[in-house]
C-alpha cells in the first residue's frame, strides 16, 4: 500500500522533470496525485486511530479493574465516547473517500491520452482526405509537412482544452479547496493529538501490566521470552509517537502545495516534501495497524 502511493507520485514527478518548462498540466497532475495519495493516507490513519482508541479504552478498563472491580455502568461510561468517536471516524473516512475521488477525477483529466489520440485521429483524417484527393485530382491534398503540422496543432488544441478545464476547475473551486485543506490541517492535528494520547496511556498501562507487575512479583516470570518481547514493544511505542508529530505536517504541506499551484509556482521540492510527509503518515498508520493485529 505504502509503496503504491509513493510510486504513483514518483511517476508524476519524473514526468514533470522530463517536461519541465511546459509543466502546467504536469503541475496539476502532481497536485492531483499528491491529493489522492493524501486522501488514501488519511484514510489509513483514520483506520489506525479507530484501533488505538478501542485499545486505549480497553487498557484503561483493565487498569481501573486492577484497582477496584468495575461495574456495568462504569464499563458503559467508558465505552460511550468510543462508540461516538467510531461514528465520527466513519464519517471522516467517507469524506476522505470523496476527496480521493475528486483528486482521482482530476488525475484522469491530467493523464488523458486524448491529445495523442487526436493527433492519431487527425493523421487518419488527413490520410482519408489525401486518398479522396488522389482519386479526384490524381495527387494528395496535403504533403507530409502539412500532415504533421495538422496533427500537432490538433494535439495542442486538445492539450489547451484540458489545461483550460483544469484551470476553470481550480478557479471555480478555489475557495472550497482552500477551506477543505485548512480543515484537513485541523483534522490531522486533532487526530494526531488523540492518537498520541491513546498511545501514551496504552504504553503506560501496558508497561505496568505486562512489564513491571510480572517482574516485581515474588514468583518468577512465567514466560521470560514473552516478557522480553512485551518490554521491547512497550519501549518502542515512543518512536511511533515521534513519527506522528512529523505526520501532522502533511496537511499543512498539502495546503501550501495548493497555494503554490494557484500562484503558478508549484515546485518539485514542494511535491517531494509532500511525499516525505505522506510517507510518515502511512508509516505510522501501518505500524499501528500491524501492532493491533
Amino acid at each position: 500500500m505504502r509503496n503504491s502511493f509513493v510510486k504513483g507520485l514518483a511517476v508524476v514527478l519524473v514526468g514533470s522533470a522530463v517536461t519541465a518548462g511546459c509543466a502546467t498540466t504536469q503541475e496539476y497532475a502532481g497536485f492531483a496525485q499528491a491529493g489522492s495519495s493524501y486522501a488514501a493516507a488519511v484514510d489509513r490513519l483514520l483506520v489506525a486511530s479507530r484501533d488505538t482508541t478501542i485499545d486505549a479504552t480497553s487498557n484503561r478498563l483493565l487498569a481501573n479493574d486492577a484497582v477496584n472491580n468495575l461495574t456495568l455502568p462504569q464499563y458503559q461510561a467508558a465505552s460511550g465516547p468510543d462508540r461516538a468517536r467510531l461514528e465520527v471516524i466513519e464519517g471522516l473516512r467517507l469524506h476522505a473517500d470523496l476527496l480521493g475521488k475528486y483528486f482521482r477525477t482530476m488525475s484522469k483529466l491530467t493523464d488523458s491520452k486524448a491529445p495523442a489520440d487526436v493527433q492519431a485521429s487527425l493523421n487518419g483524417t488527413v490520410g482519408g482526405l489525401n486518398a479522396v484527393g488522389k482519386q479526384l485530382r490524381g495527387a494528395p491534398i496535403f504533403n507530409d509537412d502539412a500532415k504533421a503540422a495538422i496533427g500537432t496543432i490538433g494535439q495542442l488544441v486538445v492539450s489547451a482544452k484540458i489545461r483550460g478545464a483544469l484551470h476553470d476547475e481550480i478557479s471555480a473551486r478555489e475557495a472550497i479547496l482552500r477551506q477543505e485543506l485548512v480543515l484537513q490541517e485541523q483534522l490531522l492535528k486533532a487526530l494526531s493529538a488523540a492518537i498520541e494520547q491513546d498511545l501514551k496511556v496504552t504504553t503506560q498501562i501496558r508497561e505496568q501490566r505486562l512489564v513491571i507487575t510480572p517482574l516485581t512479583e515474588e514468583k518468577p516470570l512465567a514466560n521470560p521470552d514473552q516478557w522480553v518481547a512485551s518490554r521491547r514493544s512497550v519501549l518502542l511505542a515512543n518512536s511511533e509517537i515521534a513519527e506522528l508529530q512529523s505526520a501532522s505536517r502533511a496537511a499543512r504541506d498539502m495546503r501550501e502545495t495548493f497555494e503554490d499551484l494557484v500562484a503558478g509556482r508549484l515546485s518539485m521540492a514542494r511535491l517531494l516534501g509532500v511525499i516525505a510527509d505522506l510517507d510518515s503518515i502511512i508509516s505510522v498508520a501501518e505500524h499501528l495497524l500491524a501492532k493491533s493485529k
Partner: protein, 109 residues
C-alpha cells in the same frame, strides 16, 4: 483557558493518573472506599477527555461534510470536460473513417 487548552490539561492529568507510581499506590490501597472513589474519578476524567476529543473531531467532520456538494460538483464538471475531450477524439476518428471510405469508393468508381 479555552477548550483546546482544557483538553490538553485534562490529557496531561489523565497521563499522571495512569502513571506507574499512581497505579501502584492505589492498587496497594487497603481502604476499598478510597479505591472505589479513585477509579470512579479516573473513569470520569477519561470520559471527559473522550467527549472533548469527540466534539473536536465531530465539529471538523461537520464542516467538511458541508463542502461535499461542492466537491461533487467539481467531480461532475471534470467528468463532463473529459467527456467533451473524448467526444472530440471520437468525432475525428469517425470523420477519418468516412473519408477513408469515400476514397475507396472513388477508387472503385
Amino acid at each position: 483557558m479555552n477548550r483546546d487548552e482544557l483538553l490538553a490539561e485534562l490529557r496531561r492529568l489523565e497521563l499522571t493518573l495512569h502513571s506507574v507510581e499512581v497505579q501502584q499506590q492505589f492498587t496497594g490501597e487497603q481502604d476499598p472506599e478510597v479505591r472505589r472513589r479513585f477509579v470512579a474519578e479516573r473513569i470520569e476524567l477519561s470520559r471527559m477527555v473522550g467527549v472533548l476529543t469527540h466534539e473536536t473531531l465531530g465539529s471538523i467532520q461537520e464542516q467538511l461534510t458541508q463542502l461535499e456538494p461542492q466537491l461533487r460538483n467539481g467531480i461532475e464538471d471534470m467528468d463532463a470536460a473529459l467527456e467533451s475531450v473524448q467526444n472530440t477524439v471520437a468525432f475525428l476518428n469517425a470523420l477519418g473513417k468516412i473519408l477513408g471510405l469515400v476514397g475507396r469508393v472513388l477508387a472503385i468508381v
